[in-house]
């Protein structure tokens, strides 16, 4: 999901950088307000941990493998505001040392992966943490939060690419979001497994972390919402166009050769499902529901103490 240099034009790159700088500044102030000195090396080591954990391969099928992305895990471990700083550190080092993700595109990458992702993971996990008590709730929240974070970051990434004119929104959004609906599911499951493993080995690291800084952090949430609105605004107007264009084309085809072609399947004529964007949105809603179920089951199952001999 790292945008390399050469894909964003200057206005998009600068706009994203300004938003990212603002968000990181809010997170910095928020973290400093309640920072204990010993948390500074812990945050740095958490960043190094996220970086290294991304290199662990989880085999999927037929030789492919996935890996942790880490926004939801960092959020669960250190709380949302500190997670923004942790992930900022990760993304900056990836850019400056590994040349992974562009330097001019750094603002956009920070916005997607270091701001949107942890805030989304935190916000999406909140209702689950409230309803399920204890570790089960934290695990379920992290699972669902991991999925939401990946999908939202992918959508923002697609939005920036479209805004910069690298590819049209109508095609880049279904492609990016569609793939990341699946990647996000993997991220959710891996996040839960790793968090459960940490809770098993060092329970105090999971229960103590991430409490407190919730309400003030809403300010960053507002900023992120603003960012989203800014990036989404142009598409709000282009979306009906896309739908109309598809409907028009379908209507056209039907008018041209009314008799020569057999009647198309009735659902094919529905513009709602014919448009890849609408199909993506539908898949997103279904995916969210499915992922909520997975999160609840996984949270319950992993929070149960493991029977002897299974380790």
């Amino acid at each position: 999901m790292h945008i390399p240099d050469g894909f964003l034009d200057l206005p998009t790159a600068t706009g994203a950088a300004v938003l990212a700088a603002g968000g990181v500044a809010v997170a910095l102030r928020e973290t400093r307000r309640r920072l204990e000195p010993r948390q500074v090396p812990l945050m740095a080591l958490t960043a190094a941990f996220v970086f290294v954990a991304q290199m662990l391969n989880f085999p999927v099928a037929a030789g492919t493998s996935g890996h942790l992305i880490g926004a939801a895990l960092a959020t669960a471990l250190v709380g949302p505001a500190a997670a923004v700083l942790v992930l900022t550190t990760v993304v900056v080092v990836q850019c400056l040392v590994f040349a992974d993700g562009g330097l001019l595109a750094l603002g956009a990458n920070l916005l997607n992966m270091a701001l949107l992702a942890p805030v989304a993971a935190w916000a999406a996990g909140l209702p689950l943490r409230r309803t399920l008590p204890g570790l089960a709730g934290r695990l379920a929240g992290a699972t669902f939060g991991g999925w939401v974070a990946v999908v939202l970051a992918a959508a923002a990434c697609a939005g920036e690419l479209a805004l910069a004119g690298a590819a049209p929104w109508r095609t880049v959004a279904p492609a990016m979001i569609g793939v990341h609906l699946l990647i996000g599911a993997g991220e959710g499951v891996i996040t839960a497994l790793v968090l459960a493993a940490i809770a098993r080995a060092r329970p105090e690291l999971v229960t103590a972390a991430g409490a407190g800084s919730a309400r003030r952090f809403l300010r960053t949430g507002v900023l992120v919402a603003l960012a989203l609105a800014l990036f989404a605004a142009p598409f709000a107007s282009s979306l009906p166009d896309g739908l109309e264009a598809v409907a028009e084309r379908l209507g056209f085809a039907a008018l041209e050769q009314p008799a020569a072609l057999p009647a198309p399947a009735p659902d094919y004529a529905l513009p709602g499902l014919a448009s890849p964007l609408a199909a993506t949105a539908a898949a997103g809603v279904l995916g969210a529901l499915g992922m909520l179920g997975v999160a609840l089951l996984l949270g319950r199952a992993l929070a149960r103490p493991r029977e002897a001999g299974s380790a």
Binding site: I3, P4, D5, G6, F7, L8, A13, V24, L28, T31, R32, L35, P37, R38, V40, P41, L42, A44, L45, T46, A47, A48, F49, F51, V52, A53, M55, L56, F58, P59, L68, L85, T89, V90, V92, V93, C95, L96, V97, A99, D100, G102, L103, L104, L161, A166, A167, P168, V172, A175, I190, L193, V194, L195, A196, A197, I198, R200, A201, R202
Partner: protein, 204 residues
């Protein structure tokens, strides 16, 4: 893992390495901006930037094979994003433009990171008034990144030596257990680092 395996050549002695960090970083940023502004109808400007990059690479005395290898390692990421261009009509020209532009930009960042130690970049960021907390986090994270990578390797080797076969269903939990253990060790190490920092009079 050698701590300098990434920016192995950042401490060579060459006219490029001796340039002040601010000059190099500023030039890199200007080049990237210029690349973003080059209109697609004037590809000769790309050639100009490419020539400049080759000249700088030559003057930096970094083995060309190393630079090319690193470029090829990172190129697939750019190709993946550029492939999105095929989703629209006339995608080929757009694709070539995106690939050319991103490859040159990759060369710029690569040369910057290979001719400038990370610590020098951090000093520059500090001088540019980046908040101290962020600079501290970056410095500590970079310092312990390779230590933790070694730790992960040891944990994985230990696990492999304990298991006869990899049972498919268990795999993910086993890998997650390695990650979980790794975080435990990272947090213990952070306690020791904190103690060492306090012993040297550090204050946040």
């Amino acid at each position: 893992m050698r701590p300098d395996f990434l920016d192995r050549h950042a401490r060579l002695a060459s006219p490029i390495h001796r340039l002040p960090t601010a000059v190099k970083a500023g030039a890199a940023l200007l080049l990237l901006i210029a690349l973003a502004l080059v209109p697609p109808r004037q590809p000769w400007l790309f050639a100009l930037v490419a020539l400049l990059l080759v000249a700088v690479a030559g003057a930096s005395r970094i083995p060309p094979r190393f630079l090319l290898g690193r470029l090829l390692l990172l190129e697939p990421l750019a190709l993946g994003v550029a492939a999105l261009a095929f989703l629209q009509p006339g995608g080929w020209r757009h694709f070539l433009l995106l690939v050319g532009r991103s490859t040159l930009a990759l060369g710029v960042v690569l040369l910057l990171s290979q001719t400038t130690p990370f610590a020098a970049l951090l000093r520059l960021l500090r001088r540019l008034r980046l908040p101290a907390l962020l600079v501290t986090l970056l410095a500590l994270m970079y310092r312990y990144l390779f230590v933790l990578a070694d730790e992960a390797e040891r944990l994985q080797r230990a696990r492999a030596s304990r298991t006869f076969s990899r049972r498919r269903g268990r795999d993910w939990r086993a890998i997650a257990a390695v990650a979980g253990r790794l975080f435990g060790r990272a947090s213990e190490r952070s306690e020791r680092i904190y103690g060492a920092m306090c012993a040297r009079g550090w204050r946040p």
